[in-house]
Amino acid sequence: MTTSFADVASSNVALRTFLHGLPGVDRVGADQRAAMLGTRSIKTTAKAEAIDLAIRMVDLTTLEGADTPGKVRAMCAKAVHPDPADPAVPKVAAVCVYPDLVAQAVGALAGSGVKVASVATAFPSGRSSLDVKVADTRLAVEAGADEIDMVIDRGAFLSGDYVKVFEEITAIKEACGEAHLKVILETGELATYDNVRRASWLAMLAGGDFIKTSTGKVQPAATFPVTMVMLEAVRDFLAATGRAVGVKPAGGIRTTKDAIKMLVLVNEVAGDRWLAPDLFRLGASSVLNDLLMQRQKMATGRYAGPDYFTLD
């Protein structure tokens, strides 16, 4: 059974009525459930599979002012062969760069199957006019980006101007064309879990293909309860509309243990349909080396050292 949300965004009042009509999130309950799911013990063969799956879900990201074409090329090489010494290690899902470096990444990844994602829309603050944001998006799409990571206007969202946020996402979605659109909610700035749920629904209603927790520039970033609330939202959205939207926690995931906890959360909250790179991504770079070290530990039986893996 699917519901039509055609009229939900007809006016700010309608949108506000809908978003504020969503059930509230029990903060204590959400924290506790997320913590409880984080205590699962994943070992041996299940751990080996989880590590490989997590590697396939990684969006290898570099979003620094100091990024150079050389650094992007090095990162792309790592995306295709995360561990050059072991060809059995799968490729990562995508690399994520700023729009002006997309062409470099596209060139380096041609034919590899690794996607190129680009942040856009005045990342990370999102403080610019819609025209500039659309132009930023076009720049990335025309350079060949397969995926666009946009940021929502948190100022508009927090002041209750939901239609502005909605229309911005719609406009960017249109500018994306064939490219997939990931909508960054920047949950660290949304203050409450209720807002996270509302922003998730808003982004999905507006046509986002993915909802992403954070830019990585704001603390806290991807916490477990926030990711859980977003996973609940995509699960409910699928039930209501029949469309499956992906989730990408980004920032703050540094260890294999955290990555595996995320996978447990995905499986328990959204379901195993989301245990695939087309519906779940890990926005992180430092976690990849830890995943590789754990993988090597399982293969060789000795603890691995960071000296034997590339930094970028």
Binding site: G301, R302, Y303, A304, G305, P306, D307, Y308
Partner: protein
């Protein structure tokens, strides 16, 4: 029916835990083992560290390495001297624990341990003058060799619970290395008390990490760990284990300091009281040689 006498006060006994990254965690595995005195009486339960505790300790040691190796030798010497001061202040406690462990004349042993620390503290800014050199070379170069710390050193401490422990840890850290120490399995309690001394001596957390438990269980994991740069097998009494550790250490070319050969095991205990020389200092140093063109 009121009681006139207050009940006897319950003893507050110390929980002996591990020392990792400047904190005192219990073993990740939740295990412990009973430590008995030399007469077989129960003394305390000590944590029985697992391989994951060893892994965490190596990570802590690696994290501390940058800051500790970058500190000035003068500063490291000061901190070692501070450790000696703190140890001196706990003389009675150590003497009692050593007596329980069966050490003869424990007071003298504590004195020797304090003296050993002071002795090594003095080496901090002098070892470069002994282990380094300005080399005469056939060319217009200024050629200088200077010793640099090896990195993270895994140490299996000898069965001498205080003097032996201090004698293997001090030379490792005074030159800028950080270490993971597996304490004496039979008498680990003075090692945990020494950790309390280290924690209050301005020694940055993670420079020394102390594990208690089974040497046979932990040492091979440290020997095989790819992020450990050197291995001191001083306390490995089983020759088979020593060989196995040395083989595992070969994988990433760790420096290995072998235990005393079996035929000298008898005077092993006496060795810790003897003048140690600079052997243990230089064992965990790498020589960096710089060729500098002379003139401008």
């Amino acid at each position: 029916m009121s009681r006139t006498e207050s009940p006897a006060r319950l003893a507050v006994r110390k929980t002996y835990k591990l020392y990792i990254g400047g904190a005192f965690p219990r073993s990740e595995s939740g295990r412990s083992y009973a430590v008995t005195s030399s007469k077989g009486e129960f003394l305390a339960n000590a944590s029985r560290a697992s391989r994951k505790d060893a892994r965490d300790a190596v990570a802590a040691a690696r994290k501390a390495f940058g800051g500790w190796s970058g500190a000035t030798p003068y500063n490291r010497g000061q901190i070692l001297y501070r450790i000696a001061e703190m140890l001196e202040g706990r003389r009675a406690q150590f003497a009692a624990e050593l007596a329980d462990a069966g050490t003869k004349s424990p007071g003298d042993v504590v004195d020797a341990a304090v003296d050993r620390l002071v002795w090594y503290a003095g080496w901090s800014d002098k070892i470069a003058a002994v282990a380094g050199a300005a080399n005469p070379v056939a060319g217009p170069y200024l050629n200088i060799s200077s010793p640099e710390p090896t990195g993270v050193v895994a140490v299996v401490a000898p069965d001498d619970p205080l003097l032996g422990l201090v004698s293997v840890v001090a030379p490792v850290i005074v030159t800028g290395n950080t270490c993971v120490v597996v304490a004496s399995e039979r008498a680990p309690l003075p090692a945990v008390t020494l950790a309390e001394v280290l924690a209050t001596s301005d020694l940055p957390g993670g420079v020394v990490n102390i594990l208690t438990g089974s040497v046979k269980e932990i040492a091979p994991w440290l020997a095989g760990h790819m992020d450990v740069n050197a291995l001191d097998l001083a306390g490995v009494s089983d020759p088979g284990l020593a060989v196995a550790c040395e083989e595992a250490a070969a994988e990433n070319l760790k420096r290995v300091l072998r235990p005393a050969p079996a035929d000298r095991a008898a005077d092993w205990a006496a060795d810790w009281a003897a003048d140690p020389g600079t052997r243990r200092l230089t064992a965990f140093l790498e020589t960096k040689t710089v060729w500098h063109p002379t003139g401008i």
